[in-house]
C-alpha cells in the first residue's frame, strides 16, 4: 500500500523528500487537533480515514479515472461551476491551499506580502508536492482577487490553466458577462473531455451536486442545537473534504453523520457544555489543513457553530434551480453562482445581512471576523461588517492572521479576552 503510493507519486513527478516531510508533519497535527477531541461522532471515522491517507486513496481514484480516459479538473474557488465537469464525465477537485509548508517555496517567486492562500497554492505546484495538482489535466482559476489573477498567469507556465472572469458588480451587464463565462466554460470542458454537455447529463450533475449541498445544509442546521452535537473543527473538516471527495460518496457519508447527530440531539448529547460560548466565524476561506482558529477557539472553551465563508455556508447554502432545457439549466447555474456573497463584489451588502441572520439563527454569543493577512477585500469589508455588528449589538472580534504558528500566543490572548467579554 505504502510502496504503491510511492510508485504513484513517482509517476506523478512528486518531489518525494519534501512531500514526505509534509505528510509526516500532518500526522501529529491531526492527532493534536482532531483525534484528541472527546465525544466525537462515529461518523467522523470516514473523514479521519480520508485525511489519514490524504494523498493516497482519492488520488488513486483520480488516476484510475484518467487511465480510462477521464479528465480531472482542479479548482480553487466556489465560483467554478463543478456541475459542468461532472456532466462531461470529468472529476472536479477543489485544491487545498491551507498550509504554511508550501509558503516558503512560493516566496521564491511571489511577493511576500501576498496572502497565504495564494502562496500556499502556488508553492504546491512549484515544489511538486501535491498529487492532486499533478494528477489534474486542467486548473481552473477565477478573478475573485487580484493576487490570484496574477498568480494564475505564473501557474500557467507549469500546467494548463483556464481563468473564468467573475464580475465585481451585480448589475444586469455583470450578470450577462457571467452567463457568457459559464457558457464559455462549458465549451472548454467539452473540448477537454471530448464529451458533449447535454440537458440530460447536466440535469443529472445539477441534481448530484444539489444533493451534496442539501446534506451539508442539513449538517449545518444541526449545529443550531444546544448543546451542539458536533465540534466546529469536525464540521469544517467535512466541508473541506467535500471539496475533493466523490460527490455521491460524500453525500452518503454526510447524511449518515447527520443521522447520528439527529440521535445525539434527541438524547441531548453534545460536544461542549450548554453554556460554552457559541461562535460564528465569517471571512476568508479556511482551506485544508487550516484549522488554526477553530482549534484555538475550541481549546479555549468556545464552540464554533457556523462558518459564513467559502468553506462554509457560501459553499452550500444556495441550490441550483432544476430546469429541463440546457439553456435554462445554464442560466440557472449562472444565477446560482452569482448569488455567492463574496467580498470581490461591490457593494456586497447581502453578506452583511447573511452574517446578522446566521448570528440570530445559530444563537451565537459572538462573531469572529477571520481575515487572511493581505486579503484586501475581506480586510476592507470588515469595516462595514464591524459597523453592522455594532448596530445590531452583536459582539465582534477581528482576527488577521496567516498559516504560521508564531502568533498563536497573541491570538489566544485576544480570543480569551473576547470570550471573557461575551460571557454572561
Amino acid at each position: 500500500m505504502i510502496t504503491d503510493n510511492i510508485r504513484m507519486w513517482k509517476e506523478l513527478n512528486i518531489d518525494l523528500k519534501p512531500h514526505d516531510m509534509l505528510l509526516n508533519a500532518l500526522g501529529p497535527i491531526y492527532q493534536e487537533v482532531y483525534l484528541s477531541q472527546t465525544q466525537r461522532p462515529e461518523g467522523m471515522g470516514f473523514f479521519d480515514f480520508v485525511v489519514g491517507d490524504i494523498h493516497g486513496i482519492r488520488v488513486r481514484e483520480l488516476r484510475e479515472h484518467a487511465k480510462n480516459g477521464g479528465k480531472v479538473v482542479a479548482t480553487y474557488c466556489v465560483f467554478v461551476p463543478e456541475e459542468m465537469v461532472w456532466a462531461a464525465g470529468g472529476i472536479p477537485v477543489g485544491l487545498c491551499a491551507g498550509t504554511q509548508f508550501s509558503v516558503p517555496l512560493a516566496e521564491e517567486v511571489l511577493p511576500r506580502n501576498t496572502c497565504a492562500l495564494i502562496k500556499s497554492s502556488f508553492g504546491f505546484k512549484l515544489g511538486r508536492i501535491c498529487p492532486y495538482v499533478q494528477a489534474s489535466h486542467l486548473i481552473v482559476g477565477e478573478t475573485t482577487c487580484d493576487g490570484k489573477k496574477k498568480m494564475f498567469e505564473l501557474l500557467g507556465e507549469y500546467q494548463p490553466v483556464y481563468v473564468m472572469e467573475v464580475p465585481n458588480k451585480k448589475t444586469a451587464s455583470s450578470r450577462a458577462l457571467w452567463l457568457q463565462e459559464v457558457v464559455a466554460f462549458k465549451e472548454v470542458i467539452e473540448k477537454l473531455t471530448g464529451n458533449k454537455i447535454t440537458a440530460g447529463n447536466l440535469g443529472e450533475a445539477i441534481d448530484l451536486v444539489n444533493q451534496r449541498r442539501r446534506a451539508l445544509q442539513r449538517l449545518c442546521h444541526l449545529r443550531k442545537a444546544s448543546p451542539v452535537p458536533i465540534s466546529g473543527k469536525d464540521a469544517l473538516l467535512v466541508t473541506q473534504v467535500s471539496f475533493y471527495d466523490d460527490v455521491r460518496r460524500c453525500t452518503q457519508q454526510v447524511s449518515a453523520l447527520c443521522d447520528e447527530l439527529d440521535k445525539r440531539i434527541a438524547r441531548g448529547e453534545g460536544v461542549a457544555p450548554v453554556h460554552a460560548p457559541r461562535i460564528l466565524i465569517t471571512g476568508s476561506p479556511m482551506a485544508i489543513p487550516n484549522w488554526k482558529l477553530h482549534h484555538i477557539l475550541e481549546t479555549t472553551g468556545a464552540v464554533v457553530v457556523c462558518e459564513e465563508s467559502c468553506t462554509g455556508t457560501r459553499f452550500f447554502s444556495e441550490l441550483v434551480k432544476p430546469e429541463k432545457s440546457l439553456d435554462a439549466q445554464i442560466k440557472a447555474l449562472a444565477e446560482r453562482y452569482m448569488n455567492i456573497h463574496c467580498a470581490c463584489f461591490t457593494p456586497n451588502d447581502e453578506r452583511l445581512d447573511d452574517i446578522v441572520n446566521l448570528a440570530q439563527e445559530y444563537q451565537v454569543d459572538g462573531v469572529i471576523h477571520y481575515n487572511l493577512q493581505f486579503c484586501h477585500t475581506y480586510a476592507n469589508e470588515a469595516v462595514r461588517v464591524e459597523r453592522r455588528m455594532e448596530e445590531t449589538s452583536i459582539p465582534l472580534l477581528r482576527i488577521e492572521t496567516d498559516y504560521g504558528d508564531e502568533d498563536i500566543g497573541q491570538l489566544k490572548t485576544r480570543i480569551e479576552a473576547f470570550l471573557e467579554m461575551i460571557k454572561k
Partner: protein
C-alpha cells in the same frame, strides 16, 4: 485573607499581594525561565487564591494552581480600582500594546491589540534607545529637549532603525530623532485608541507610561484626560489580585 495577582509579561514579572489594600508588590525580570522565577517569588507565601495573567499565564497557572485571566480583563479591573470612573485603558508593555474601552459599569466593550510586530511597543523604544546610545529610562526626557521636529515614517522596528541610522549619519540632533520616534509610537497608539473609541477618562498603564514624552504626546493626540497611576507596570497584576479576591466571593 491573602490574595495574589501575578502578571507574567514578556519582559518582567509583576506580583501584587492584596487583602483589603495592596500589601506588597514586586517587579522582576522574566528571563529565560519564567516558571522558576514565579516559583521563587511565590515560595513560602500562604495564599488564599492566585490569579495569573500575562503572556506566560498558562504555563505558570498550570503548575502553580492559579486561575487564568486575559491581560485585557486584568488591566480593565486594575484600572477601575485605581480610577473608578475611567472608561478606557491604554497599556504599552514590553511586547504588546493594548487599548480597552469600558462601559460605565466597567465591563469590557471593545479592545484591540497590536499585531504580531513590535511597532508601538516598549520593545520598539528599547531598540531605538540602544541605537541612540540613550538609556531607556531617560529617552523620553531627552526627546522633550528637541529643538526641532523631524518625522520618522516607518513603524517597523527593523526599518525604523535603518531610518534612525541614516538620520544619525546625516548629523541630525539626537533629541530630535528621539522625539520623532515618540511621535511615531504615539500616532500609532492614538489611531488604535480612536478605532476602539476611547472617550472620557482613561488610565495609561505599562512600562512605557513612565515615559513623560509619550504621556504628553498621547494626551495631545487623543485630547482626553490620561491618568498614569503610581506603579503603572503593576496594573495588570493588581487586576489579577482583585479578581482572585472576587473569585473567592469577597
Amino acid at each position: 485573607m491573602i490574595y495574589a495577582g501575578l502578571d507574567v509579561g514578556s519582559r518582567t514579572i509583576k506580583l501584587v499581594i492584596f487583602d483589603t489594600v495592596v500589601k506588597e508588590s514586586l517587579i522582576t525580570e522574566t528571563g529565560a525561565n519564567p516558571l522558576r522565577r514565579c516559583r521563587e517569588i511565590l515560595a513560602g507565601r500562604k495564599l488564599r487564591r492566585l490569579v495569573v495573567t500575562g503572556y506566560g499565564r498558562h504555563l505558570v497557572a498550570s503548575t502553580q494552581g492559579g486561575k487564568v485571566v486575559s491581560e485585557i480583563r486584568a488591566f480593565a479591573v486594575g484600572a477601575r480600582y485605581l480610577l473608578p470612573d475611567c472608561q478606557g485603558v491604554i497599556d504599552i508593555g514590553g511586547q504588546d500594546c493594548k487599548v480597552v474601552r469600558l462601559s460605565m459599569e466597567g465591563d469590557v466593550l471593545k479592545f484591540e491589540m497590536n499585531d504580531r510586530c513590535a511597532a508601538g511597543t516598549g520593545k520598539f523604544l528599547e531598540v531605538m534607545a540602544h541605537t541612540l546610545e540613550a538609556d531607556i529610562g531617560a529617552i523620553g526626557d531627552l526627546a522633550l529637549t528637541a529643538s526641532r521636529k523631524i518625522t520618522i515614517n516607518s513603524l517597523c522596528t527593523v526599518f525604523a532603525e535603518s531610518e534612525v541610522v541614516s538620520l544619525i549619519g546625516r548629523g541630525e540632533e539626537t533629541a530630535a530623532i528621539a522625539l520623532a520616534l515618540h511621535e511615531a509610537i504615539a500616532t500609532r497608539v492614538a489611531t488604535m485608541a480612536r478605532r476602539v473609541g476611547i472617550k472620557g477618562k482613561a488610565v495609561f498603564a505599562g512600562g512605557a507610561s513612565l515615559n513623560r514624552c509619550l504621556v504628553r504626546l498621547l494626551g495631545e493626540k487623543l485630547g482626553i484626560e490620561l491618568t498614569v497611576p503610581d506603579s503603572p507596570q503593576l496594573v495588570g497584576a493588581l487586576g489579577a489580585a482583585l479578581l482572585a479576591k472576587h473569585e473567592d466571593g469577597q
